[in-house]
Subunit: 450 residues, 2 copies
C-alpha cells in the first residue's frame, strides 16, 4: 500500500495502477481512501479513472460517501452516468442520497421513466427504515413453475439480482406467497413444482420498520436475506445480510456514544468530523451535567458548618462520590446492553432489582471493610470518621446499584432510549445522593449540630 502511495506521489500512475489492480476491490477502495487522505483529490481521481470500467464501479460502491462525492466532482457526466447505471440498486440509492440535488436531477434525466419513478420512491423512504435499506433486485418466481423452469429463470436474471440464494414466490398483484432457497431448488428434481418446495411461514419486515428491528430479525433467525412488504403485503424489496452488518455497527456505535453522553446519530467517522460539530455533539450533556453538579455543590453547601468543624470529612468526599458513580455505571451498562440484546425484558424488572440488591450488599461489605482498614490503619483518623465513611459507602453502593439497574428499565418502559441512562446520568444522581448521605451521616455520627 505504502508503495502505491509513493508511486502516485511520484506520478508513476501506470505502475501504480498495475500494482493496485492486484488487489481485491474492497482493498482498492481502501487504498483510494488513503490517497484521498494522504495526498489529494486529484491524484485519487486520476487513479480512479485509470481503473477498468467494471472494476471502477465496484470500487466506487465500497468508498465512504464523502469520498464518493469527491470522486463524482472530478469525473465527467458520462462517467457518472455509467457508474450510477451499473451500481446495485441499493448502492445507487445510497449514492443519490448523498449527492447535491442538481447532480441527482441531471442523472435522473438520463434514466428511463420507470427507473426514475422507482428511484424516487426509494429516495422517499425515511432514513433508517427498512425501505431505505432494501433493493428491488431480487429473483421472483411463480408457484406453478417447475424447479427446472425456476433455475432457467435464475440463470437469465441472476446476474442483476442482489442475491439469488433466496427466491421470492409472488401471487398476482405482487403479493408475497412464499420463499424458496436456491439450495432447495438445486438439490431437488427438475420436474418438482416450486409450490411444493416454498415455505409460506417466512419471516418478513414492513417497509417502515426501523432498521434496528430488521437487524434483530437477522440476528434472531440467521437469514441471508429478508423480504420487505408494504401495508398490503406486497413484496417491495429485500434486504441482504451484508447490509445488516453495517447497520449493527452503526446502531452499536450510536448506543455506545449515547452511553458516554455524546449525541450525534450521523455515521460520520471521528476524524472526518469538524471540531465545531464535535463540540456541538458533546455540549448538551456537559451543560446538563454542570447543572446537576452545581446542585451537588449546593447540597454540600448546606453542610458548611459540619465541614468547617471537621475539614477531614472533605478528604473522603471524592471516594464516596466516585464509588457511587462507578458502581452505578457498572449496573447501568450491564442492564442497557442486556436490554438492547433482548436478554433482559421489562418483565424482568423485579429480578434485576433483586439481583442488583444482593450484588450491592456483597460489594458494599467488601468495599467498606477495605476502606475501614485504610482509614484506621493508614490515615489514622478517628473511628467515628471511619464508621461514617463506611456506613455511607454501604448506603451509596446499594443506592447506586439499584438506580443503575432501575433507570434503564424505567427509560425502556417510557419509550426513551435506555442508553441515555448510562454514566453521565447515573453519576450525576449518585453524586448528589452520596454527598447528601455522607454529610448527613457525618453530622449525625459526629454529633455536630447544623
Amino acid at each position: 500500500m505504502q508503495e502505491i502511495l509513493v508511486m502516485v506521489e511520484e506520478k508513476e500512475y501506470v505502475k501504480a495502477r498495475d500494482l493496485l489492480l492486484k488487489n481485491n476491490e474492497v482493498d482498492i477502495a481502501e487504498i483510494l481512501e488513503e490517497i484521498l487522505e494522504e495526498l489529494d483529490v486529484d491524484a485519487a481521481i486520476i487513479m480512479f479513472r485509470m481503473l477498468p470500467k467494471d472494476v471502477s464501479v465496484e470500487v466506487f460502491s465500497y468508498l465512504p460517501s464523502e469520498d464518493q462525492v469527491d470522486i463524482i466532482s472530478g469525473i465527467t457526466e458520462r462517467e457518472i452516468s455509467y457508474i450510477i447505471e451499473e451500481l446495485d440498486f441499493d448502492d445507487k440509492i445510497d449514492v443519490l442520497e448523498e449527492l447535491p440535488a442538481n447532480v441527482v436531477d441531471k442523472i435522473l434525466e438520463k434514466t428511463t421513466k420507470e427507473e426514475r419513478r422507482l428511484i424516487n420512491t426509494f429516495l422517499n423512504y425515511p432514513e433508517n427504515s427498512a425501505g431505505s435499506l432494501m433493493t428491488p433486485d431480487y429473483i421472483s418466481l411463480r408457484d406453478n413453475m417447475t424447479v427446472g423452469e425456476a433455475l432457467a429463470h435464475i440463470k437469465k436474471e441472476g446476474m442483476d439480482s442482489e442475491t439469488v440464494y433466496t427466491c421470492y414466490v409472488k401471487e398476482e398483484g405482487r403479493k408475497l406467497e412464499g420463499i424458496v432457497s436456491l439450495r432447495s431448488l438445486v438439490i431437488h428434481d427438475d420436474n418438482m413444482k416450486v409450490s411444493e418446495l416454498m415455505s409460506t411461514d417466512y419471516v418478513y419486515v414492513n417497509v417502515y420498520d426501523d432498521q434496528e428491528e430488521v437487524s434483530e430479525a437477522f440476528k434472531k433467525y440467521g437469514f441471508l436475506a429478508i423480504p420487505v412488504v408494504d401495508s398490503e403485503h406486497r413484496l417491495v424489496g429485500i434486504i441482504t445480510v451484508d447490509d445488516i452488518l453495517d447497520v449493527i455497527e452503526e446502531e452499536t456505535t450510536e448506543d455506545i456514544e449515547r452511553m458516554a453522553g455524546v449525541m450525534d446519530g450521523s455515521d460520520t467517522e471521528y476524524l472526518d468530523m469538524g471540531v465545531f460539530r464535535h463540540a456541538k455533539n458533546r455540549l448538551p450533556w456537559l451543560i446538563l451535567l454542570s447543572v446537576s453538579l452545581m446542585i451537588t455543590g449546593s447540597i454540600i453547601e448546606q453542610f458548611e458548618a459540619t465541614l468547617q468543624q471537621v475539614v477531614a470529612l472533605t478528604f473522603y468526599l471524592p471516594l464516596l462520590m466516585g464509588t457511587g458513580g462507578n458502581t452505578g455505571t457498572q449496573a447501568a451498562t450491564l442492564i442497557i446492553r442486556g436490554l438492547s440484546l433482548g436478554d433482559i425484558e421489562l418483565k424482568d424488572t423485579l429480578k434485576v432489582f433483586w439481583k442488583e440488591f444482593r450484588v450491592s450488599i456483597i460489594l458494599g461489605i467488601v468495599l467498606s471493610a477495605f476502606n475501614f482498614a485504610k482509614i484506621m490503619l493508614i490515615d489514622r483518623e478517628s473511628v467515628q470518621i471511619a464508621i461514617t465513611v463506611c456506613a455511607s459507602m454501604m448506603a451509596v453502593v446499594i443506592f447506586a446499584k439499584l438506580i443503575g439497574g432501575m433507570l434503564p428499565m424505567l427509560a425502556k418502559r417510557l419509550g426513551i432510549d435506555p442508553a441515555l441512562m448510562a454514566t453521565p446520568m447515573i453519576s450525576s444522581l449518585t453524586d448528589m445522593v452520596s454527598s447528601f448521605v455522607y454529610l448527613l451521616m457525618a453530622t449525625a455520627v459526629l454529633g455536630i449540630s447544623l
Copy 2:
C-alpha cells in the same frame, strides 16, 4: 406464547404442542426457554420430547447452551445420540463443549472412528479461535469438473453442507485452490469448467486467528462464508456469516462491559449469572478505583489549610471533578469505538491530539462562561472564586479531553485493550488532576499560603 404457557401449566400437552408447531423453529426454541424459566425443566422436557424428531433437532440447536444441558439431562441416551448425530457439525461441537465429559464420552462411543477423530480435533481448537467457529461441512469441488458435474455434486451433497452458496475447489493434498459461488455455477453454461469460474485471489483466515479478526474480515468484505486454512494452506473448514453475527455481538458486549469496568468475558446472560459471579466481575475495578479515589482524597488533604479558610471552595469540587470525568469519558469513548471499528489507527495519534485539543478549547470556554455567570449571578460568590473555578475548569477540560483521547491510543500501541481506558480509568485520573489544579489555583489566586 402466553396461551401455550397456560396450556402447559394445565398439562394440556397435546393442545400446547399443536399450537407450538405453528411457529418457526427459532420461535419454538424461545417458547421452550420461556417454559424452562417460568414453569419447570420437566414441563420443558415433556414438550421437547413431543416435537417431531426433525423439528426437535433444529429447535435444540437454537436453545442457549444452559438450556441444552437441562434438556439433555432429561431425555434418553438414544434421543441424545439422535440429536447429536443430526446437528450441523459446528452446532454439535458447541453442544459437546458444554456437556460434562462423561456424557461426551458416551456420545463419542457411538460415532465412527473417523467422526470421533474429527470431533476431537475441533474440540481442541482454542476458544474464540477461527477453528472453534468453523464447520467441516462444505461443498468441495475439483477444478477440472464442468459446471454440470459440479451442480450434480452439489445436488448430492447439498443437504448436509452448512452452505452450498460458496463452494471450495481443492487440489490434491487438500490445498485450497480457489472458490466459486453457486450463483456463478447457476448462471453459466453446464459445459464450462469450474477452473474458468473460480476465483483464486479469495480471502481466507487461519485456523488459529482470533474470532475478532474473522468478524473484521466479514464486515470488510461482506462475505457469506470464509474459508479457514491451516499453516500448510490446507482447507480445514469454513465459517458462515450467521455464526459471525453472534461473534460480533459477543465482542461488542465484552468491549462495552470493559468500558464500564466490568470484567467477564463469558457469554453468560445477565439474568443467568449468579450474584457472587456478578460481584466478582465488578470488584477488581472498584478496589482499584477506591485506591485512586483515596489518592484524590490525599491530594485534597494537602490543601487542608486552604479549605479551612474558604470552605466555599469545597462546593465547587464536585463540579470540577465531575466535568473532568464527563468530558474525558466522551473523548475516550469516541476514540475506543473508532479504534475498534478501524476508523482511527495508531498513525492518527497526532490528528486525534490536535482535534481533541481544539474541541476542548471550545468546550472549556463555553462551560467556563456558563459557570462564571452562575457563580457570580446566582451564588453571588466573590469574583476571585469565580475566576479560580473557571480557570481550573478550562485546564481540567483540556487535560481531560487530551488524556481521554491519548490513553486509548497508548493502550493500543502497548497491545492492551483500549476498552480498559474508558470511564473508570479516565475519571480516576481526571479526579486527581482536577482537585489538584483547582486547589492549587485557589491557593494562588486567593493569596492564601499553604
